[in-house]
């Protein structure tokens, strides 16, 4: 199975508020708040670390969650944010987030 890499778009605004990340798309002003787990994934989305590694190192290590469930939730989360253009997904490391 090929690796998946995720990077944060630069066309967003984001700030941590009380442990949860607020994210707004500059393109369509869609506003999201990410829960603690999603915030950890978001913060680790550097475009270079494979998603599987983020889940293993950042999510499973910090939260009491089954790896399979964490993977499924993360996939869904990544898909949703990618659909709004605020996360970039690639099967190769992402150099510069666009």
């Amino acid at each position: 199975m090929s690796q998946k890499y995720i990077g944060r778009s630069t066309a967003i605004a984001a700030r941590l508020l009380g442990g949860e990340m607020m994210v707004m798309s500059a393109a369509d002003s869609t506003f999201f708040t990410l829960n603690e787990v999603a915030t950890v994934i978001w913060q680790a989305a550097d475009g270079r670390t494979p998603l599987a590694e983020i889940i293993e190192r950042s999510v499973c290590a910090q939260f009491d969650v089954e790896p399979a469930l964490a993977r499924a939730d993360a996939e869904q989360f990544v898909e949703e944010l990618a659909a709004h253009g605020i996360l970039l997904v690639s099967d190769r490391p992402i150099g510069e987030a666009a």
Binding site: A13, L17, A26
Partner: protein, 366 residues
């Protein structure tokens, strides 16, 4: 409750300055007759100082950042400041007259991920707009700027401040906004100058015209709802906050002075002498502002409009008492509903009036 309201509530609980308005200069290429600022440069913050303030705001949790002035593009380092702000992932909103925005500036603004831009337009007629700005050709250039910004897919709002000189032109400006495909926002508020000079208040539109504006469905939507008499205030209203100024919002001048809001020039500290967070958390002035609830307002707490009035504590402060009424807002409440405010009645020597209709259902009837 919307997600945004939830965030505001959380910011309030956590004491986070969620929205900050930063004027990066008071210099301007226009000389609008109603402007509340003095345009000479008295030593505005350097690029490095502004970047440091932005770093501090990001650290403090600020999400919404309004960059305004003066005219923001009068600073040669404007794009450097904007770039830094966006690197810090602020949601950036710009206020500008647009005169210095051409195709290239619009492209750069777009590339930097600005969320919204507000451009001031006073009239659809050049002779009126340019007479207000005192800059010949300004309407043409501002409208061109809006087109450039619009072509970039940016969200633009036309801000139409209403005053005696342009009071008949709001329909024309609204039509212009429609033609340009941008949002229209009307503001009938003329504020005293930031130094307290009230001479420009003569430019406020008279009550009858304000009344016509508030009863115009093109401007307010559902007139019946907008102009409805205020419901009797409950305990939640009396325990409520006057507005977000000093609670989740702050204003910083080009000289580093911190106020609760751009319309509330209560000196609360200076970022050249103290860290923003120290000012935000410990300024006696901000703590005082935060301590005030609607029930603490001696006149307004007795007013039937207390729950629905747009009372601005900053305008009240400029009238001499931050706990007092803001007469401009008393006038708005009156023109909107036809019901005089407690302040108006007090000035006329009459006792404050309760709600016009108050029905108490007899016990056991339901």
């Amino acid at each position: 409750m919307t997600l945004m309201q939830e965030m505001n509530e959380r910011a309030l609980e956590l004491g986070v300055p969620l929205g900050v308005h930063l004027d990066i200069t008071y210099r301007c290429n226009e000389r609008c007759v109603h402007c509340y600022l003095e345009h000479d440069d008295h030593g505005e913050m350097s690029t490095a100082e502004i970047k440091d303030v932005l770093d501090q705001l990001a650290e403090a949790g600020t999400f919404f950042l309004t960059l305004s002035g003066g005219e923001i593009l009068m600073r040669r380092d404007f794009f450097e400041i904007l770039e830094h702000a966006r690197k810090l992932l602020f949601n950036v909103r710009l206020k500008t007259n647009g005169v210095m925005i051409g195709a290239e500036e619009a492209r750069r603004i777009r590339a930097l991920g600005v969320e919204q831009i507000q451009v001031s337009i006073y009239s659809h007629r050049a002779e009126i707009h340019d007479a207000i700005t005192k800059l010949p050709g300004s309407l043409k250039r501002s409208v061109e700027a809006i087109r450039f910004l619009q072509q970039q897919g940016l969200k633009v709002t036309i801000a139409n401040v209403l005053m005696t000189a342009n009071s008949g032109d709001h329909a024309g400006v609204q039509a212009l906004a429609k033609e340009l495909g941008v949002t229209y926002a009307l503001d009938p508020t003329i504020t005293p100058k930031i130094d307290g000079d009230t001479s420009i208040l003569d430019l406020r539109i008279p009550g009858a015209e304000l009344n016509a504006v508030f009863h115009n469905p093109e401007l307010v939507g559902n007139v019946e709802e907008f102009c409805a008499p205020p419901p009797p205030p409950g305990d939640d209203i009396m325990e409520g906050l006057p507005c977000s100024a000093g609670h989740t919002a702050a204003y910083i001048t080009p000289y580093g002075d911190v106020f609760p809001c751009v319309q509330f020039p209560l000196p609360s500290g200076n970022v050249r002498r103290s860290k923003f967070t120290d000012i935000w958390q410990n300024s006696p002035q901000l703590l005082q502002v935060r301590s005030i609830r609607a029930k603490d307002l001696p006149v307004c707490s007795t007013c039937s409009h207390v729950g629905t009035c747009t009372r601005c504590p900053g305008l009240a402060y400029m009238e001499g008492n931050m706990r007092g009424p803001s007469t401009a807002d008393c006038e708005k409440s009156f023109q909107r509903t036809g019901i005089p405010s407690a302040n108006m009645l007090q000035k006329a020597g009459m006792a404050p009036m309760g709600p016009l209709i108050q029905i108490q259902v007899p016990i056991g009837s339901s």
